[in-house]
């Protein structure tokens, strides 16, 4: 066992030496930007030919959308599994795993449906909020 470990560790040690010399010049912001440029906004990972399950990787999203999207998608009865994760807080990536029943067709439809539902929810709330503010202001004026 121990010999195996040593063999695996050897190349990592070589890299460590390189990192020392380059480390000081790297610009964090620049790294982040390069990371974002090189990555597509939405990545889809799925088994070849299987449309009923997929993992979507959203770039520049976090718990704000992740949790809400999971919350609305889970309400769909054709969804067998839906969960999200943010693998690392300093990477601007949010992953959403989605598995649906065959009767739902494919994951893309369900995902689009979820997004549309959030959009509709914010529309409705916006309208109700503006009405409430107007009503409140009018009642203040009449006092």
């Amino acid at each position: 066992m121990s010999t195996k470990k040593q063999a695996a560790a050897a190349p990592v040690n070589d890299q460590d030496v390189d990192m020392e010399s380059q480390g000081e010049q790297t610009n964090n912001q620049q790294d982040m930007r390069d990371f974002q440029m090189s990555r597509p906004q939405l990545q889809v990972q799925r088994q070849e030919g299987d449309n009923t399950s997929a993992t979507y990787s959203f770039l520049n999203e976090d718990h704000t959308l992740g949790n809400l999207l999971r919350n609305v998608i889970i309400k769909n009865k054709q969804v067998e599994f839906c969960a999200y994760s943010v693998p690392h807080p300093s990477e601007p990536v949010m992953n959403l795993r989605l598995q649906v029943h065959e009767s739902a067709g494919d994951t893309k439809r369900v995902l689009k449906h979820g997004l549309k539902r959030i959009g509709k929810m914010s529309d409705v709330l916006l309208e109700k909020f503006e009405n409430a503010v107007q009503k409140f202001k009018e009642s203040q004026m009449s006092d």
């Binding site: 610009n27 912001q29 620049q30 930007r33 390069d34 597509p40 906004q41 939405l42 889809v44 070849e48 449309n51 959203f58 999203e61 976090d62 718990h63 704000t64 959308l65 949790n67 809400l68 999971r70 919350n71 889970i74 309400k75 009865k77 893309k108 995902l111 689009k112 997004l115 549309k116 539902r117 959030i118 959009g119 509709k120 929810m121 914010s122 529309d123 409705v124 709330l125 916006l126 109700k128 909020f129 503006e130 409430a132 503010v133 009503k135 409140f136 202001k137 203040q140």
Partner: protein, 372 residues
């Protein structure tokens, strides 16, 4: 069966606070969570949400709005809160050219400090500044030369402290007479002078519309005779995600609205004791036909200190609860936006996000990237 279903309904809607904590704090997002007990799935369709959600304004002034978000679930309330804090853009000083700084504050501290000064300008009229490419960074391009009237606000800060009477002796350790003895002993946010870029002069023609520091009395540095600060300041549009200086809210939080009930009547001396127990005065006493009875005056005052359920005789009588679907939102603005505008912007931003991702998904499938 009937009473069991009613019990479930009640526990689902209302969290009960006990001395050791809250046993049923969780919300149940899946429609079939209680199907076995209640015999039917929960109402979770979009139509149900539209019918049941509501907003009730409790108070509104120039600084803060308080409202109830009713019929929503925690993920929605939290998304709104997070968008308010981190995703609504404002303008803030991001780059600084420091030509002179002989004050006692080190350059880097002064630069950081000045970045936190809120700037009065409508961020909706600006674009985001595009960052330098790797090639440009290696070439050594000065980013401050790439600013235009569309993505930047430029300010100058030039303050020099002098003695009012050149022959007066130096006074040490005295901040009381500084205004009397020196010119400019303090550098305030009001010393920032705006320098128009591009067509900004025509965009902001009057002194009222001019970009400036939101609060003129923010102390930036203290100076003594002979000390001087001269800097050029460049504002960029950004969001609280990058740095808290771009956050448009001082606070944005929500809590569940308390609901307090009595399982039995509390009368006489006990009622008086209960009223005395509560440090924020939730309970009142009503005198009905000579019997002094405890009633709940204002449940919203409750801070969940649990003082009222600590004595054994009240533990089973006072029913401290919270509505799980009623969020009392407090949004306090820094001053860039009006408080009610902030909530509108947050809801628009949420909508924008969904539209953006729907577009991305559409493009992906059009190019065949997703389906292969």
């Amino acid at each position: 069966m009937e009473s069991k279903a009613k019990f479930v309904e009640d526990r689902k809607k209302r969290a009960v606070v006990k001395t050791h904590g809250i046993d049923n704090a969780a919300t149940f997002e899946h429609p079939a969570s209680f199907q076995a007990t209640t015999g039917r799935p929960d109402k979770t369709s979009l139509k149900d949400f539209i019918d049941e959600c509501d907003i009730e304004i409790l108070s509104l002034n120039d600084e803060e709005i308080v409202f109830d978000l009713v019929g929503a679930e925690p993920p929605l309330a939290n998304a709104l809160r997070r968008i308010l804090i981190a995703e609504i853009p404002t303008m803030a000083i991001e780059k600084v050219n420091m030509w002179q700084n002989t004050s006692i504050i080190p350059d880097e501290n002064l630069a950081h400090r000045i970045g936190l000064v809120p700037i009065k300008a409508d961020p909706r009229e600006f674009e985001e500044h595009t960052a330098l490419t790797q090639a440009e960074v290696e070439e050594g391009v000065d980013d401050t030369t790439r600013y235009t009237g569309d993505d930047c606000l430029k300010f100058k800060l030039h303050v020099r402290c002098t003695k009012k009477d050149p022959n007066a002796p130096m006074v040490i350790n005295n901040t009381f007479d500084e205004e009397r003895l020196y010119n400019n002993p303090n550098v305030y946010a009001s010393h920032l002078t705006w320098e128009p870029l591009g067509n900004q002069r025509t965009k902001y023609p009057t002194p009222e519309s001019e970009p400036k520091a939101l609060y003129p009395d923010i102390l930036i540095a203290k100076l003594r005779p002979g000390q001087e600060i001269e800097m050029e300041l460049f504002c960029e549009k950004g969001t609280g995600k990058t740095h808290a200086k771009w956050s448009p809210v001082s606070t944005a939080y929500y809590r569940l609205v308390p609901d307090i009930r009595f399982k039995r009547e509390i009368v006489g001396e006990d009622a008086k004791e209960l009223k005395r127990l509560c440090p924020v005065g939730v309970f009142d006493i009503e005198d009905i036909g000579g019997i002094k009875k405890a009633v709940v005056g204002d449940a919203r005052k409750c801070t969940t200190c649990r003082e009222c359920i600590r004595p054994a005789k009240f533990a089973d009588v006072v029913d401290l609860g919270k509505w799980k679907d009623r969020f009392e939102f407090h949004v306090e603005t820094v001053g860039h936006y009006r408080p009610e505008e902030l909530v509108v912007e947050a809801l628009k931003k949420l909508k924008e996000k969904t539209v953006h991702w729907l577009e991305v998904i559409q493009q992906e499938s059009a190019s065949g990237a997703e389906e292969k």
